[in-house]
């Protein structure tokens, strides 16, 4: 049987999460065995660059494409182009607004937003003031996690949101922002919702620098990056793990299936998450469950990173 040529384009590879995602893709058994020849493209945080990479893959007659779009809307044109060329496209990790996707393998960001906000609100006892550190405005992660944040906040009408501002997923930016907020609202901030771990970690550093006690704050993030797991272990924050490896490997399984009708999945994802059913690779949406990071599973999670 001929080797499959499968390409993946990600919105960008410079941050840890996508790095883990793409590393997992390369660890997929079908890639290791040589059945699949995999190329991972770096979208360089530009929707147009991703579209151009689609064109490159179409030119080179790739068999299937895995797509982590930079933007919800702008990815649609790229998917259309691949569809026109008869190449199946499997979405992963981030949503794209197109019904031409073969499937989507990712996690529900609304849910994550809700989970992290809940963790913060629970610790605050459903009262007090909090601040929200957002991702870059307009990205699907930011939009959906904010939706989830607000859903959880509805349950606690007494909680006041003092500030909502973007720190662009960046720890350094969040740290600066938090330093300034601590000055502008002295003694008033009880909780911090970071839409990702990096920003939550930045807030923690700001709190430390202001000689405040981090455990007096309710802080949460999303993703489960290594630093965050360590922080959870130290009781500094809460985090929910987004299983990028499962998203990546699951997506590849679905992509292979789209080309080879007789394929059965070879990654461990499907056994690891029984809630996520393979359903013969025909589902439109595969949602990898979130895992709350706790002091109990932290070490195990860290172990799996090595």
């Amino acid at each position: 049987e001929k080797k499959l040529k499968i390409g993946a384009t990600t919105y960008g590879l410079n941050a840890e999460f996508m790095q883990l995602w793409s590393a997992a893709l390369k660890e997929h058994p079908a890639v290791k065995s040589g059945d699949v020849e995999l190329t991972v493209f770096d979208g360089r945080y530009d929707a147009l660059v991703q579209q151009e990479q689609f064109n490159t893959m179409i030119t080179q007659k790739f068999d299937a494409i895995i797509f982590v779009p930079m933007d919800v809307e702008a990815g649609a044109a790229a998917v259309q182009a691949a569809h026109d060329a008869g190449i199946p496209v499997v979405g992963s990790n981030a949503r794209v607004n197109s019904d031409l996707l073969t499937s989507y393998v990712g996690s529900n960001d609304v849910l994550a937003g809700e989970m992290e906000a809940k963790a913060v609100l629970d610790k605050m006892g459903c009262k007090g003031n909090l601040v929200i550190l957002e991702g870059p405005i307009g990205q699907s992660g930011q939009i959906q996690r904010l939706e989830g944040n607000q859903k959880a906040l509805q349950a606690c009408p007494d909680v006041k949101v003092l500030e909502t501002q973007t720190a662009n997923w960046s720890r350094a930016e969040a740290q600066t922002l938090m330093e300034n907020w601590l000055t502008a609202h002295p003694g008033q901030i009880n909780g911090v919702i970071g839409q990702n771990d990096e920003m939550a970690l930045g807030a923690i550093e700001a709190i430390k620098a202001a000689n405040l006690n981090v455990s007096d704050f309710a802080i949460a993030g999303v993703d489960g990056v290594t630093d965050a797991i360590n922080a959870v272990k130290d009781g500094l924050m809460a985090s929910v793990l987004q299983d990028g490896s499962a998203q990546a490997q699951g997506a590849l399984d679905v992509a292979i299936k789209a080309v080879r009708p007789d394929y059965t999945p070879v990654s461990t994802v499907w056994t690891q998450y029984p809630d996520m059913k393979w359903n013969d690779g025909k589902d439109k949406d595969y949602l990898v469950p979130w895992t709350q990071v706790t002091t109990k599973n932290a070490d195990k999670l860290l172990e799996s990173r090595k």
Binding site: A47, Q51, T59, E73
Partner: protein, 334 residues
């Protein structure tokens, strides 16, 4: 001051025009070499489909870089192009969308109207920058850095931070259509290039630009309205950025508020690689086009070869420097 403003590194202005000429060919030579290497390394590189890809990928940066050439020739710089791309894209997109939520009242309007408005948005940004630079003598770097920030902010405010999806097919034609098989963005780039070449090389205004960049004192003493020329180049760059913004949104199918981030670097790089001096007065728009093509070919080629992203970044850095070094070397050699 220009008393001593010799732009070469070694010794006086040793044979500048020769340098310019060789530079142009020199960089063309670097471009050919790069293309040659890539076509040997990858079977797809020279396919018509891929060449069309490269040209498409070059078109937006090419248009921006040509506008930038005008500005840099007068000793200026325009850092705002990327943000203006986004602003013009969003504003014109909101007129040309079928989406009920993202469009302005009455949208979709005819594509030509959206296009005119998009160019006007760019023109307006250029006008503001131009006034600040030419009348208030604010350094171009500061004025356009301000616009970089402000135009991005306005983009986000205008669209509420959300993209504008569902652009009409008419509007998208400038990104996806073609004329006699040539993709529209490439046609636009070609037209912009030819007109610019003609303006810079054949018209009075073009002469003024070189004169102002070469020696503003002498230009002024020769009766040239230096302030006006300085002003106009920013409106050109702004308008072309507006055009590029619409090419971008027409290609991607929706207008994005985060479009065009850091595009100014690529545009300036194309200009400088093409042999135009950042100190003004010297350069050719042909060089700029080749510079943009080098960047396009490099990005395309490294992706084609499937080189790992991290290594790509290192290679790109080395290749850019290498291309220019080759060029300089040839000059020195002679």
């Amino acid at each position: 001051m220009s008393l001593s403003d010799n732009k070469t590194t070694n010794g006086w202005f040793t044979s500048d025009s020769r340098r310019v000429i060789i530079q142009e060919y020199g960089i063309f030579f670097a471009f050919l070499l790069l293309s040659l290497i890539l076509s040997v390394s990858n079977e797809y590189f020279l396919t018509s489909g891929n060449i069309s890809n490269i040209l498409l990928q070059t078109s937006i940066n090419g248009v921006l870089a040509i506008g930038m050439t005008f500005v840099i020739l007068t000793r200026g710089i325009d850092l705002s192009v990327g943000s203006v791309v986004a602003l013009a894209g969003i504003v014109s997109g909101s007129l040309a969308t079928t989406s009920a939520t993202a469009g302005v009242f009455g949208a979709p309007y005819p594509a030509y109207l959206a296009l005119v408005v998009g160019v006007l948005v760019g023109f307006a940004c250029g006008t503001i920058v131009g006034i600040i630079v030419s009348r208030f003598a604010v350094p171009a770097f500061v004025a356009t850095l301000g616009m970089l920030s402000a135009a991005r902010g306005m983009t986000l405010i205008y669209g509420g931070g959300k993209p504008v999806p569902g652009l009409t097919p008419d509007f998208r034609w400038i990104g996806t259509g073609n004329i006699l098989g040539v993709p529209m963005p490439v046609v636009i780039l070609a037209v912009v290039f030819i007109v610019s070449w003609w303006v810079l090389n054949r018209t009075r205004f073009g002469r003024y630009i070189y004169a102002v960049g070469g020696n503003p004192h002498a230009a002024k003493t020769s009766g040239i309205n230096v302030t006006r020329i300085r002003f106009i180049v920013y409106t050109i760059s702004g308008s072309l950025s507006g055009l590029a913004g619409m090419m971008l949104s027409a290609r991607t199918g929706s207008a994005l508020p985060q479009a065009g981030v850091a595009y100014e670097l690529d545009a300036i790089a194309a200009v400088v690689i093409g042999g135009t001096s950042l100190s003004g007065g010297v350069g050719r728009v042909t060089g700029t086009l080749i510079g943009a093509l080098i960047i396009g070919v490099m990005n395309n080629g490294l992706d084609l070869l499937g080189i790992q992203s991290y290594y790509q970044q290192v290679l790109k850095g080395a290749l850019i420097v290498g291309a220019v070094m080759l060029d300089q070397k040839r000059n020195h050699g002679q």
